[in-house]
């Protein structure tokens, strides 16, 4: 057999030996985690880092809740409270929700479409480093100049007034603006990667309409990200310029208009919430069929609904601005479009229900989380529709009613879906199933805790408790429900703790599970658990949706499932040693994503502190990293 290595010497021009470091080769060991370009390792990095931020953000939330457990709380000062709720929101969205979606997308997208990796492995790793450094950058603000305290949405002119003249002490707003711009770079890079991967790298026979719903939704999310980040970046640049260079974008004295900021921000912000929730919907769309032993009901409709949500999501942004005086024409138009977007969302919910209905349901932990998603997301969606009614929203806006709404969709929805996904794909990634009893305990604690925390907030909001306020006075009648919410928060914390205990317990004592523990449907389950570096021995040829399922089962004349005899097409090699030598040429690891990404926080600090020389250094690092990256030798595979 002519090995590709021999031929490669003929095809690739003689490599110019770089004077710095040759491209690394090891794909095992601690250092390999810094240089890896394997989408699976990168996904694990994303997930682990995001879970770390989950703990951080949970602590912030608990402190907020402790402060609000009683009237006239003294646990957090007003200034500190502002920092905490700002960082809680910012972290949840940018350092937890989006990265976790990236984690799932990264791990699963290539496997589900039968590819060996994403289109741009180094760019993939770069995206991770940007996330990590961006998170560290933003959090360093606590010690280096003051944490962001203008809300996760950073409304101008509160954030855009220069530091010396404004009401926000410290450099928090600068950290926030610069940090989000940096994080946006990573998000766009990953979005481009996913789009090209999903469009260009599907296995033979896998048409778009045979892709798993998960893959479709990640594609929609990638497009949303691609187009939503730029307006945000623009708005943030304008805020930064106003703050630091006295431009007049939002300076009313000069004719600037703070509403411009809100428009630009929410043009980003609304697609952003779909960027957050669609991965959750994607996960649920994969779990429900497996645990109902039925295909997803109305696959095409679910896909098109997802696309419709992606489009319509661009037309609803000013529903965040109903109380800003944009006038009846605008508010009516956006109210209509907001109600309209409830339709494809509702369609999905009905399709999920129809998937479960009549199925042979197993209430394993992933399924519990998925069902919890449906119930809680629906509640959150309903309160969302309530917001779309403009007069009602005028009362609800800026109260805890809104807090209840978005926590139901993002926590009761997205986070539950994520936990479900973790329990579902854990055996695929690590080879062991998480403990089922601890999983159920995790689930129930979270359900009880979550609803105990956030359901009362509907009432608190209707009774007038404002959001983003560090305390409330006695005698408003809010005390009892606030205390209940705080207790709920601690129950949630307990549930999350049980999760981590489960992870540790499984790592220490868990047993290796069989390759296909859930009797699943999609391609990722067709390879070993965990998969080898190159994912598949042979790229499967796809003839059906749920290809794997069709290799295991067929239907008799009465439509009953008949298990097919085991065949080569449906079996897979046993658990693999990651060090086992193989013939598949995978991209070599690389240092340059790390180096390139390092330039960004350097640039960031330069901008925050206006040390232009530091910006220069950051720029040079980036330039150097780019040159090295694009000159990097194509080396042989690591094995």
């Amino acid at each position: 057999m002519t090995t590709v290595e021999d031929a490669s010497a003929l095809l690739v021009p003689p490599p110019v030996k770089r004077s710095i470091l040759d491209r690394p080769r090891r794909t095992t060991g601690v250092w390999s985690w810094f240089t890896t370009v394997d989408h699976k390792k990168i996904a694990i990095l994303y997930a682990a880092t995001a879970m770390f931020f989950l703990v951080v953000v949970g602590v912030e939330a608990l402190l907020i809740r402790v402060q609000l457990a009683q009237p006239d709380g003294t646990v957090l000062s007003a200034a500190r409270y502002n920092e905490f709720f700002t960082m809680h929101g910012t972290t949840m969205i940018f350092l937890m929700g989006m990265p976790l979606a990236s984690a799932f997308g990264n791990y699963l997208l290539p496997l589900m479409i039968g590819a060996r990796d994403v289109a741009f492995p180094r760019l993939n790793m770069f995206g991770y480093w940007v996330f990590l450094f961006g998170g560290v950058f933003i959090y360093s603000s606590f010690a280096l100049g003051g944490a962001p305290d203008g809300g996760w949405f950073g409304y101008a002119p509160l954030t855009s007034t220069p530091m010396s003249q404004g009401f926000l002490p410290g450099r928090g707003a600068d950290y926030w603006a610069v940090g989000l711009i940096l994080l946006g770079i990573g998000s766009v890079a990953t979005a481009v990667n996913f789009i090209v991967t999903a469009l260009n790298m599907r296995a033979p026979g896998m048409t778009m309409m045979k892709m798993p719903v998960f893959a479709w939704m990640m594609l929609v999310v990638a497009f949303l990200t691609l187009f939503a980040m730029p307006p945000l970046t623009a708005a943030l640049i304008q805020v930064f310029m106003d703050r630091n260079f006295h431009t007049n974008f939002f300076n009313a004295a000069a004719g600037g208009d703070p509403l411009l900021y809100q428009n630009l921000f929410w043009i980003f912000g609304h697609p952003e919430v779909y960027i957050l929730i669609l991965p959750g919907m994607a996960i649920v769309s994969e779990i429900l069929p497996v645990f109902s032993r039925k295909p997803l009901f109305g696959y095409s409709v679910v896909v098109f609904s997802g696309i419709a949500i992606g489009f319509l999501g661009w037309g609803v942004w000013a529903h965040h601005m109903f109380a800003t005086g944009i006038g009846p024409v605008a508010t009516s138009a956006f109210a209509l479009s907001t109600m309209l977007i409830g339709i494809p969302t509702g369609v999905k919910i009905f399709n999920w229900l129809a998937t479960v209905w009549g199925g042979s349901v197993r209430l394993a932990t992933p399924m519990l989380f998925a069902l919890g998603f449906i119930a809680q997301f629906t509640i959150g969606g309903l309160s969302g529709v309530m917001h779309s009614i403009v007069p009602a929203d005028t009362q609800q806006t800026d109260t805890y009613f809104v807090v209840a709404h978005f926590h139901y969709v993002l926590f009761g929805g997205l986070i539950f879906a994520i936990f479900g996904g973790i329990y579902y794909w854990y055996p695929k990634v690590f080879g062991k199933r998480l403990d089922e009893r601890l999983g159920k305990l995790n689930f129930w604690l979270m359900v009880i805790g979550f609803n105990c925390t956030f359901f009362p907030m509907h009432f608190l909001g209707m009774e007038g408790e404002p959001r983003r306020t560090y305390t409330y006075p006695k005698g408003m009648g809010w005390d009892g429900l606030n205390l209940m919410a705080t207790i709920g928060a601690f129950i949630i914390a307990l549930g999350v703790l049980v999760f981590f205990v489960n992870v540790i317990f499984t790592r220490m004592r868990g047993e290796w599970t069989e390759e296909d523990p859930w009797d699943a449907r999609t391609l990722e389950w067709m390879t070993s658990s965990p998969p080898p570096e190159y994912n598949f021995d042979e790229i499967p040829i796809v003839e059906h949706r749920d290809e794997f399922w069709h290799r295991k089962y067929t239907e008799d004349d009465e439509g009953r499932l008949v298990k097919l005899p085991p065949s080569d097409a449906a079996t897979f090699p046993g658990r693999r040693d990651p060090n086992e030598p193989h013939d598949h040429h995978m991209p070599s690891p690389s240092y340059w994503p790390l180096v390139l990404a390092l330039g960004l926080p350097v640039l960031g600090y330069g901008f925050v502190f206006k040390y232009w020389w530091l910006c220069g250094i950051g720029g040079l690092i980036i330039l150097f990293g780019l040159q090295a990256w694009t000159s990097e030798d194509a080396t042989e595979e690591a094995h």
């Binding site: 031929a7 090209v196 296995a203 730029p230 004295a253 004719g255 042979e538």
Partner: protein, 211 residues
């Protein structure tokens, strides 16, 4: 030699024919740069929208220098012409490298970079002139929106110039063979996009009459 490689590819994945080609038939790199360009279109759109929204408002607030006072259309016409010509030299560069004419490629791509530098020179001159005439970032809305919009565009041009020069350098080192022509095509797509943005800015900012 391609034969032996294809043969081995069959051995590794005997059932997958043409799995190697992308599903869309479009190269990964090209698809990626188009996606990136689409993203950039939204970015510049935001600043253009901002410019338009605030156009003419200075008269009601801070006054200060207006576009009519400062914009020098003859001068900017020349720099616009230069940038347009740089797009021509860019496609000629791509054409040259595709045909294996590497020295010509280097001439054209260097020309593109130099035209770009000339454009930037023109921008720098214009900015300093305006500054001298009393238009600063903070003077009024026109100062803020104009300098940020055109400044960001200029920054994109500079990054493009760096990109082009590095391709030129690589070619000089013999590391840019015809097989890698796609790299030039991709840099060209970015460069043309930057030119297209200027087409819009020039029309919208300089040429559209002030009310």
């Amino acid at each position: 030699m391609a034969q032996s490689v294809i043969a081995s590819s069959h051995e590794v994945a005997p059932h997958a024919d043409h799995a190697s080609e992308t599903n869309t038939g479009v190269s990964n790199n090209k698809l990626a740069i188009w996606m990136f360009i689409a993203s950039e279109a939204l970015f510049f759109g935001a600043f253009l929208a901002t410019y338009f929204l605030y156009r003419g408002r200075d008269a009601l607030f801070l006054k200060g220098p207006t576009p009519a006072d400062l914009l020098n259309i003859p001068f900017t016409s020349v720099t616009t012409f230069v940038l347009l010509m740089s797009s021509l030299t860019m496609v000629l560069a791509l054409d040259a490298i595709r045909r294996g004419m590497h020295r010509q490629f280097r001439v054209w791509i260097l020309a593109t970079a130099l035209f770009g530098l000339t454009f930037i020179g023109g921008q720098v001159y214009e900015f300093t002139e305006f500054y001298r005439e009393g238009l600063h970032l903070s003077t009024n809305l026109f100062g803020s929106t104009f300098f940020v919009l055109t400044g960001l565009h200029g920054a994109h041009v500079v990054m493009g110039i760096v990109w082009l020069l590095s391709l030129w350098a690589r070619s000089m080192q013999g590391r840019l063979p015809t097989e890698k022509a796609e790299a030039v095509e991709i840099s060209g797509l970015y460069w043309h996009f930057v030119d297209v943005v200027w087409i819009v800015i020039f029309t919208a900012v300089y040429l559209v009459p002030q009310k």
